[in-house]
Assembly symmetry: D5
Homo-oligomer: 155 residues x 10
């Protein structure tokens, strides 16, 4: 009986595969797709990978833009199960971000406490951008994160 | 014979303890200390924690500012051994940064490849700032990273 | 030079030791201590263990109640570094809570998504109580948690 | 010969797939399904996921409600093998519960010992509810657990 | 200030050390100590190691038998924090018990479900004995465990 | 070429699947199957799961009793490769046995050394039974293990 | 719907399989293939395994040399996801390199700091060769690595 | 009785501490020390760290050069216990070498097999040098390893 | 396109499966197979499992003896990738060898250093036999290992 | 109170330290010590390290030979707690033995089953020797293990 219902509905993984195929076929970029639905490239890529949920209107816009099957819109706006590697990834491009967080984590905590009080930066009410910063010594990757400050409760 | 030379020289851990004591005694802030030596708060805190090396003139300025023993200047400009937790830290304020990197790591990689080519953001030729962003719905933590793009070699 | 500043200031661990000694000497209970400073027993125990920060007035009240050294008040209201075991603890009383979270975690997620939308229960804007529930078949432990719902951002 | 008997009987995983498909097809909610069989949403979802066993009459009611194959009733009331992730899950919605248990685990143990004696809260003779608590500053997730107190034996 | 209260009170580890010293000095056996306080050798050894709490009268009897300091009685009847190795111990004598549980764990579960229903053997309302079983081919170690059956709740 | 010989011979996993199917079809119990071949339920279940080897005559008896293909007899009496979970299983019914071994392991070692000398209980020359022990406060699970004492060699 | 696009495009793993088959069929060596496209054997093997990206002209040359499908060229020059074993590999030939890095890692760090300053050897702007060094006592494996020195930034 | 013999003899850790103090006091470099005893800097640093054994004459030369206590010579030529971190070190300077070995390990194995046959590069009959390679685009770190090829035995 | 070349060539795993099938069909023993090709049973079994490479003439002899497809000879003499469990295996027969190495590892090192000098026993230039040693108290397993002594290099 | 009994009795670690000091002072070898008490060097070293228990007469002989305090004899014949590294040791001399067991473990199991039946080699009723085997191509380390065969029980 295994998998007897498996082909009835699309899941997030299926929709990601459909998006990647459409992107390859149309020779599109993530930046272009993001512009096409008026969202940021970071959020757009992340939600296409199944790590975030699109608002329903953006899901519909993406389905139209990439000519995906209509039912994909519902899948794209479902709450995802955010599963990521629990061991530090080996790819050097991703590893360097863990190195930054490892080296500067206690510094970020100390400065948040100094500037805000006893609390954290939210990773839920959060946004991020990535830009190319021209530089005569070699262009730079510029990343900007913004998350709401949340103070601890006492009771 | 163990520890027979232990009290002869200061090490990075000793100097960190001296700095924290001076900061507490003087009721200083990291931001204030950083201004006092004309460096950024992120780099200043990180180097005070022994995770970065101060340029010699900045080390001397810090020693003067905090009235540390003279030999501390040399220790502050020595190459550190950057040891950080290999398991994800449990403190919620630090954990949220690992969550961000876990969720958005593949996205950052995809966008770097799209905007620059086959390479990475350097974590060595790198800088970072943390700011308080006023917001009527609750102030936000804003973090900006900038690292040199490094393209892979082929040979 | 190691530990040359170690005796100058109390840290959270020292204050926890002073509290436990005062509690033993005074034959007090956590519930009694909590009532004495008009806070909940859960928060009071947790902050006495150094896992939460007391509001300054509560820290002062605790210092007065337990006759702690005056400087302990500042320590009790400092932001803690919340370090907890990353492996599941073996003590059966604590293990059972991990078992509950392991078995029912996906259920809690599914019901939060169904009742609220794509988001989480905050562990920062959060409170909890523990009560004894009389029951003829054997009294029961009743635990109530309440955390603010936080919806994911899209941008 | 591998899998030569595989299609003869449904297993828990098959039945979970059938339930999810029926729920999607019927545009049902977990709360609605739970009401339809007069059980709590927490237990209903958990047992539908194969992490608990339905009492036989409830299993029959669910089969009728969702129009499942008759033999599914027996599967739904079989003792499950409760396998859950031994590493802390990365999904932020589930992770926050581990954070709560990590921060407050020793507190729960201390208060159980103070209120009951040397023992634990049972995770077997146990129930739990999840509610939406309206709040002008943002609605809250309220979770209530109740487990029988079990005192250690001495002999 | 560290350890400023360390010598004020005995803890479980101190009392274990005092018991082992008394046992060595008096050339006693665990079996003899257990008989002296009319408890089983398994429970007596385990509680002397700090892994179980003695009932107050038994704690007093042990203090008298071994001529321990009076305050040890209270320590011996405090709720312990049961910390044991989370990796399988290497000592061959202990390892073999893990091997037994690893090989026969699913069998014990299957037979409990067959003989009792959906539930477990309690490790809290539990007792155990170890005996020497004479045998012409070589004497045997006989271990008997008895734990209350606990059935899962549904709600 | 992969799997080109895969269907030629039954392996232990295949035979386990055939046994489970026959048990379900025949509405049998493990106790009944064990009686049918005059062995203990513990050994019978364990060997049916592929964790022990049946003596050839018992293998033949089982094949006859359950109407298995003839070649299954040889498979059932082959030396198994005893692979079990190296992390502690999460199922509460199995976990409790690890908890018992964790808490009482050093006690069992101390008592074996006291009653026998420097050695271990064999997990090879070993047997075990599981019984239901009636008890007015709730029936109990009774487990009895017996293993040959093996003393260490010196040379 | 799973895998509905799976056969539409080649991925790096497919191309690696095609290369290995062509190499076996043509009885080629890695050294020969590398010469055929005028690159080093180290880089050529690594990029054929999907761990590096070929420059577009080299990808085209390889496709021509090995008679691969035309679309393989694009795949060979895509940025790879460099996934490697996070546990030390068991194969003795590879293990010995980890042993070398384990034993001499701190030495390499100390000498880089002494000869260059506070920084690292880049693993991105990097090349490596492997040669056979004739030696009367047994030929030797000679490996030469060269990576750009990168100095830490301060700000 | 613990440590009753601890001060009687120097061990490798003591001698390392004495060497580092002498180096700091004399404002020496590893390269200078190596020249002073006519050995390579890599081997000299490694043996000073206690990871290799000096030949007796070199140990004596080092003792003379750094004015160490005479008995240090014997310690410096004792077989070391080579203990290194089993998790990949976090220091970026050392981490990059693991990244190189992770990415190129299978390549090194393939080329050794192609150039030599079924065998390995010895990490015992092994030497290594580190040089500064001038380069107009930025100087480079050059590392050369040489290890005897060892072919597998068959019997 | 995945697996499009998969059936073109045999790999080591395929040949192992063919050998096991031939051994079962021919009711052969490993000892008999080893005699048939005039090699030791240890090396023969290990190379049949794909953990060692046969010399070409022995590979041809095995192909003839077991009537394997001709191309299997080349596969049997290819350098293997020796992948073995990095966690200690649970099978009691294999586990006991890890226990021996764990208990006696430091002893073997101490005696090698005492009898040979600073070096190791090679696991590459290595052979091993396993024999049955008759003994009135029960026959014994006798294992003999012989590996070339390799002394560390200094330079 | 901590350590209040610490100096009253010697433990195994103390005795090991006393033996090493006596060996160094007397410029003895393990082989010489073993001959002095008429036991094998392997067992002697292992029991001196606290990993085995000496028979009482051998313990007395060792105390006399090395002029140890009299009470050391009792300690040397106590049952040890055999704790060894659960991760594979990094020292190359010890690592190679794990490599041998990893590569040949399944082979040893297969040959034991073929020569003896379903069972294991005992690591308890076990002995081992290490010899230097002269060889013109380089002397070899020869290790011989002998352990009683133990067959599995069925019941």
């Amino acid at each position: 009986m295994k998998d007897l219902t498996a082909t009835e509905f699309l899941d997030k993984e299926d929709v990601t595969a459909l998006i990647i195929a459409a992107k390859k076929r149309g020779k599109l970029t993530w930046e272009g797709i993001a512009q096409g639905i008026a969202m940021s490239p970071v959020f757009t890529h992340s939600a296409c990978m199944g790590m975030n949920a699109f608002p329903p209107d953006k899901a519909a816009a993406l389905v139209a833009l990439l000519d995906l099957p209509e039912e994909a819109a519902e899948v794209l706006s479902e709450s995802p199960n955010k599963v990521f590697a629990q061991t530090v990834p080996t790819d050097p491009c991703i590893y360097r971000f863990y190195e930054v967080v490892g080296v500067y984590g206690p510094t970020l905590k100390a400065l948040i406490h100094e500037k805000f009080g006893d609390g954290i930066m939210s990773a839920i009410d959060f946004d991020m951008t990535l830009d190319r910063e021209p530089n005569p010594k070699g262009d730079r990757v510029k990343i900007t994160m913004s998350g709401k400050y949340l103070g601890y409760n006492s009771w």
